[in-house]
Symmetry: C2
Subunit: 220 residues, 2 copies
DNA sequence: ACTTAATAACTGACTGGGCGGTTATTAAAT
DNA sequence: ATTTAATAACCGCCCAGTCAGTTATTAAGT
């Protein structure tokens, strides 16, 4: 705790090191973990600094305020994920059901099982205190994400693969268990570890597609 | 703001009134609203007091601490709901599907559309800061609730009404959209008012039961 | 190579305000 | 007159944000 800032496997020959490039990411990672665990208000910057292996003053060399760190956490971590998802949809060849399954399970693998899974809880928790951030999140994340799902669902309906339905609502239903699982993982999971999530998601997908498929093929 | 504490429709003839009986509930209601909106840490007791129409000192005549108020909010508001639900299940006559539909829609009417709908968000947000409370909630609310759903689902499977499946997991899936809708309502809804919830829930129920029904009867 | 000067990353003690909690006092109720 | 609900001024801790000083690093000079 006293000696720090050494690249792994290096002996502590000095009190600290200059690592201008690495700081921001380390700060954001530390802040994400603490914000998710404790919430924004209850997180002390001293703790963020300690976790990032620096002093509190250093935080202010890279960010203007606690709130700026919060915004950076949210805004920098989600862009890449969305791009990857949109790419997957664009390149995919196969049935729409298979694509949606892959989207759901892929999201869980890339987001749900990583530190990113804490972001939904964080956003939900702080929505009342950061309305502008919530607006940003809805506009640039939720709606963009939903657009992908709605597109695939509508394509599936047009192709006769799914029953006709309100794709907006169906998209929300399809995605809800993902969000639910992610939030759960960071809140009540420790006291109710009900099996692993992929099992949960697979049953969801089976029921959902069995329920929405246009009757033609039934997967047992 | 200055004059207060009058039963509705009473003229402010004095600075305040003694209303020992009514205080606790009013405090709890005020605290619920603010905790849900801002989270526990970010809520100031001065604001709770103001909203309850009293001064901060008065809070301490009825509760030992801020945390005690928090616990009271959670513990006093959910018991009655659970009892009502268990009674409904006990008395119900009809198909298990119909019962589950009624449970879901009834929950939304009695909880989702009232101030109680904020509790899930509150629990999730503060789970990191109040582990004991989370444990209590899981033990006495989540599991008790799930037990009801699991019971009905298993009965349905045994009766040949539903396909065989893991009732524990299915119960979580069935309930997830409710929690999702409630949390959504208190966080991102203002920036994405996607239709009303009953429509969402009805589609959920249609897809779910169509997906899980044992093929015999199809309701279209 | 070795020393020294200049720069910039980093530190940690400090502060000012805000908020949880207390208490001396006031006023309603009986 | 006595009791007690309620107040509002008050206290002290905590923590976001600051800044004067320290140390690693780099560059220039010899």
């Amino acid at each position: 705790m006293i000696f720090c800032n050494h690249t792994p496997g290096e002996k502590p020959s000095c009190r600290w090191r200059r690592r201008k490039e690495a700081r921001p990411e380390e700060i954001i990672d530390a802040a994400l973990a603490l914000f998710v665990e404790k919430g924004f208000s209850a997180t002390r910057l001293d703790d963020v600094a300690k976790r990032a292996g620096i002093s509190k003053g250093t935080l202010y060399l890279y960010f203007d305020s606690k709130e700026a760190i919060f915004r950076a956490v949210v805004e920098t971590l989600i862009g890449p994920q969305l791009q990857q998802i949109e790419k997957l949809v664009h390149d995919f060849e196969g049935s729409n059901q298979a694509l949606l399954r892959q989207l759901i399970l892929g999201w869980w693998r890339n987001v749900g099982e990583t530190g990113l899974s804490g972001i939904p809880k964080l956003i939900v928790s702080e929505s009342g205190n950061f309305p502008e951030l919530s607006e940003y999140f809805v506009k640039h994340v939720v709606k963009r994400m939903r657009k992908v799902f709605v597109g695939v669902l509508e394509r599936g309906v047009a192709a006769g693969e799914f029953k006709p339905c309100d794709a907006q609502v169906a998209a929300r239903l399809l995605f809800a268990p993902l969000v639910h699982a992610a939030i759960w993982k960071h809140s009540l999971q420790p006291w109710d570890d009900t099996g692993d999530v992929p099992v949960y998601l697979n049953l969801h997908l089976d029921i959902f597609f069995n329920g929405i498929s246009s009757g033609a093929a039934k997967n047992e």
